[in-house]
Amino acid sequence: MIDSPPEKINESVLKLINNIHYGDVKGTYNIVLATISVLKEIINNTEWNTAKDLMDSITLNGKYLIEALPLEASIGNMVRRTLQIIREEYILELKNKTEETDPQESLHKILTAENDQQIDFNTSVPSLKSALLEHIVEFETELETCLENITEQASEHIHSNEIIMTIGKSKLVEEFFKKAASTRAFDVIVAEGGPFLNGHEMAVNLAKAKIKTTLISDVAIFAMMSRVNKVIIGTHTVMANGGLRAISGVHTVAQAAKHYSVPVMVLLPLYKLSPLYHSSYKQNGFNKHVSPMQGVIDSANTQLLEKVHAYNPVFDYVPPDLVTLFISNIGGNAPSYIYRLLSELYHPDDYEL
């Protein structure tokens, strides 16, 4: 990052941007942890008097982060989540009421609860900071156990002698399979996931874990789908409508699965759930177009390179109607239920930062 940033942006935010930009922090999970620790630092180390101050500061920094790294939607999710935590804690502290035993608000309550809108965040609450930090630490623990909670459910979804298809490489899916394999035997078909061909590594890892694995090329996805019982994939982000932003090739798999009425299950740690919509066909900010030399065309053919336009998008958008079930850390949910999860996780005011 070369250009000079606005003055109000926290140092640690800039550092985080650089770290992610230059590849020091990789993988959504690590990015999420890093983001939370930065936000915690802002709460902890910056000067603020009221919840309003803090929320403004978090919003400002968060917005800068999101603009700098538009593709990492989970960063935005963490910012929204933090804001939601601040709201919750503030209200709790303000009312000093702890009788709210039911942590999950009901649909009715959300619809009727308008009082949030009128809450004045300008009151200074001295105990807020410690309460917040406590809550965030709690949230961090939740994040840490998140993946484990998902893999715990493996045996509920994978049964003996089933044939499961997946595409590309996902650490979470790999763990999910390994967990299931500890109690039963099943077959996995891995589509290689061109042009990056991460599926090769995935297949090797699964085979090492003594799971019967078959690696297929992407063109064989449709042909193989007829014998598949289930498709289990990971995703990069889940949009507000339940659509996926996942590595390219997933759309093919989902379409083929639809054709053969094979259920598609998506492993979804909740931090990947984003209150955004995929709105425009100009895929700016939704997709990442990397160099076509990374697997699409041979870089040692200048004549071809000069003559053709080759595209190499990293992500596919998969519409929600192709997804059967999301397996999140709090259980399985249908795509139509995503809005409910969203409203539990984030405050509607924070959807647009």
Partner: protein
């Protein structure tokens, strides 16, 4: 070997060439704007990513610009120091200067300022260090990029021959391939001393050199090393004496690098960046090029740019606060910041730098417009370079010139008149006659084949050269005057007499339709031939007039017509029309035609009479006309 604390890189801000005329007068090569961002921005991003801690920027001209630039920028963990030496004029001098400063302590990366690279330099340098562990005398590792084949590409002039030992990648010979030389001389010893020798022409020097500490002393000791090529040649030749060896290393296939060695390379680099070959250094992914909207066909638009009612065809980018008028078309072009372009403007293959204003109905093709130019209403600019602050008057037409503003006024230089040793390569008319070369020299590749194929004498070579020039000229609609220049230069090259020139030019023109039809894949028949011949003669009228000036020339012209007509069935029935046409255009005089018709050559063969029979009606008409005119004169 390489256990040292700091990773150092030396960047030469200038490349000491004039191949990018006139840009060297405007900014140092490292500040050359590529898609509106100085080349240095891309380089810095790579340096930071590669975690280079210390960068020495060697400045020898435009020092104020560089100082200014370095001051504004913010670097993460990379210290940039300027080495200022006004008036240094070669790479060798620069390195000798750096050597005396003594700031370079260990292995370092030498980067020439005109290059663009996305690779991880740190891992490249580590690879060099591994080589040093095996061979203490490894002074330098060149980083080469595999281009596959450079034939028919923008880079065809960049092709170089790399002779190296296959197992170790030790360089034995490195040279640029020149189109003029058909053969390359190789030393037999290389092959006898090594069991496997690789001969490569697919590699491009990326202008990144991984150096051992011994490089600088080598430069210091050998004052005749001026350029990098000198150094490489010198070290390879005196490998034993200097106890130094040069290795090469291939750039990873997914990485991209390209030095801007000519305007052609500049064009190619820009196109490649727009097509995202250089990811992550591309618009909308790279911090200096933020807030661009990426649209299909590799077109980009800054969020603030206005482009309603215009067509961004392909491979183009529209910078900050630029505006396009209605019905304007842009293809393969870069329009930088704050440009205002009117309606009905056609921009193709052009680079428009910041703050340029182009009024309505202009056409800008294959051109480069430096900042603050103004092109007024209805102008046409083709293949030109306009230096900063040029104001082009309304309805002017500029073709193939470089326009510079000087204290005395505006100077215009024809591109063709630039000195040859400047290696000026412009991207207009990229498709050179190279493929034609191949077909003509196809049988002359090896000694054996030369032996039994007829050795083309100079006149035949000249003829085929003329055919090539004319064919290209006709296809690309080149100016006839330029073609005459070209023919004349071939004439001197092959030492052909003026009479033979006329004969061959006419011959070439008459056979041109056949070549043209073959080129356009149209079936060859009399009808097509005649139709094309007519068009060609009309087009090349100035050339014919230029060569057929006197009576001798007319003889040659007729001789050529006869020779071609007798061997080409398509022409034969048309010969009389041809003569008529030449007669009408005052190319051939009546007397000469009749004289030719009546001349009976000694060996009056079948062909001879065949042609004469074919033109009989015209001669008859000509005679009658003659009689008429003499009669009327008599009256």
């Amino acid at each position: 070997m390489c256990k040292k604390d700091v990773l150092q890189a030396v960047i030469l801000a200038d490349d000491f060439t004039t191949s990018l005329t006139p840009s060297q007068n405007i900014f140092p090569s490292i500040l050359m704007p590529v898609i509106n961002v100085p080349l240095f921005d891309y380089m810095l991003e790579t340096l930071i990513k590669s975690r280079i801690q210390e960068v020495f920027l060697y400045c020898s001209s435009h020092i104020d610009l560089l100082k200014e630039y370095v001051k504004v920028k913010n670097y993460k963990g990379t210290a940039i120091s300027l080495i200022i030496s006004d008036g240094c004029s070669s790479l060798g001098d620069a390195l000798r200067d750096i050597d005396t400063k003594g700031w370079i302590r260990g292995y370092f990366i030498l980067i020439r300022g005109n290059t663009f690279v996305t690779a991880d330099l740190k891992s490249l340098l580590n690879a060099h260090c591994l080589k040093v562990e095996k061979d203490k005398g490894a002074t330098m590792t060149m980083v080469l990029r595999n281009l596959g084949s450079t034939k028919n590409s923008y880079m065809s002039e960049e092709a170089s021959l790399v002779v190296s030992d296959k197992s170790s990648n030790k360089m034995l010979y490195y040279t640029k391939l020149k189109n003029s030389e058909k053969k390359v001389k190789l030393e037999l010893n290389w092959f006898l001393d090594h069991s496997e020798i690789e001969l490569n022409t697919c590699y491009l020097d990326t202008h990144i050199y991984l150096c051992s500490p011994s490089v600088l002393p080598l430069f210091a000791d050998n004052f005749d090393f001026q350029t990098m090529d000198d150094f490489i040649r010198g070290v390879l030749m005196n490998e034993e004496i200097l106890d130094s060896r040069i290795y090469w290393q291939q750039l990873d296939v997914e990485d991209y690098a390209l030095p801007i060695t000519s305007w052609k390379a500049y064009h190619m680099l820009t196109q490649d960046i727009l097509r995202r070959h250089s990811f992550p250094l591309v618009a909308d992914a790279f911090s200096s090029l933020k807030n661009f909207i990426y649209m299909p066909q590799s077109t980009y638009k800054h969020e603030t740019a206005l482009a309603k009612g215009c067509v961004l065809e392909k491979d183009c980018i529209l910078g900050l606060n630029s505006a396009l008028g209605n019905n304007t078309k842009v293809a393969r072009s870069v329009i930088a910041d704050h440009c205002i372009i009117g309606s009905n403007v056609n921009i193709r293959n052009s680079y428009i730098f910041s703050n340029v204003r182009i009024k309505d109905n202009c056409t800008i093709v294959n051109s480069i417009l430096f900042p603050n130019c103004i092109v007024r209403y209805g102008s046409q600019i083709d293949g030109c370079i306009l230096c900063p602050e040029i104001d082009v008057a309304a309805r002017s037409q500029y073709i193939d010139i470089i326009v510079e503003s000087q204290s005395s006024g505006v100077s215009k230089t024809k591109m063709l008149e630039l000195e040859v040793n400047d290696e000026f390569l412009y991207f207009k008319n990229n498709k050179l006659a190279e493929c034609d070369n191949c077909s003509t020299e196809s049988s002359s590749s090896e000694e054996d084949s030369e032996r039994d194929s007829p050795i083309p004498d100079d006149t035949n070579m000249f003829l085929s050269e003329v055919i090539d020039s004319l064919l290209r000229g006709y296809q690309d609609k080149l100016n006839c005057e330029n073609l005459i220049l070209e023919i004349n230069s071939s004439r001197y090259a092959y030492n052909v007499t003026i009479r033979e020139v006329t004969y061959n030019v006419i011959k070439a023109i008459l056979s041109l339709p056949l070549h043209y039809l073959a080129e356009t894949k149209t079936p060859v028949n009399s009808q097509n031939y005649q139709k094309n011949l007519k068009a060609i003669i009309t087009y090349f009228n100035p050339i014919i007039l230029n060569y057929v000036k006197n009576e001798n020339a007319q003889d040659d012209c007729l001789r050529a017509i006869e020779d071609i007509a007798s061997t080409t069935d398509e022409l034969l029935p048309y010969t009389q029309h041809l003569l008529n046409q030449f007669y009408d255009r005052d190319i051939l005089s009546e007397e000469k035609i009749l004289e030719w018709y009546e001349s009976t050559s000694e060996d009056a063969d079948v062909f001879h009479s065949k042609v004469r029979n074919a033109v009989q009606p015209f001669i008859k008409w000509l005679r009658e006309a003659e009689e008429d005119s003499t009669e009327s004169d008599n009256d």
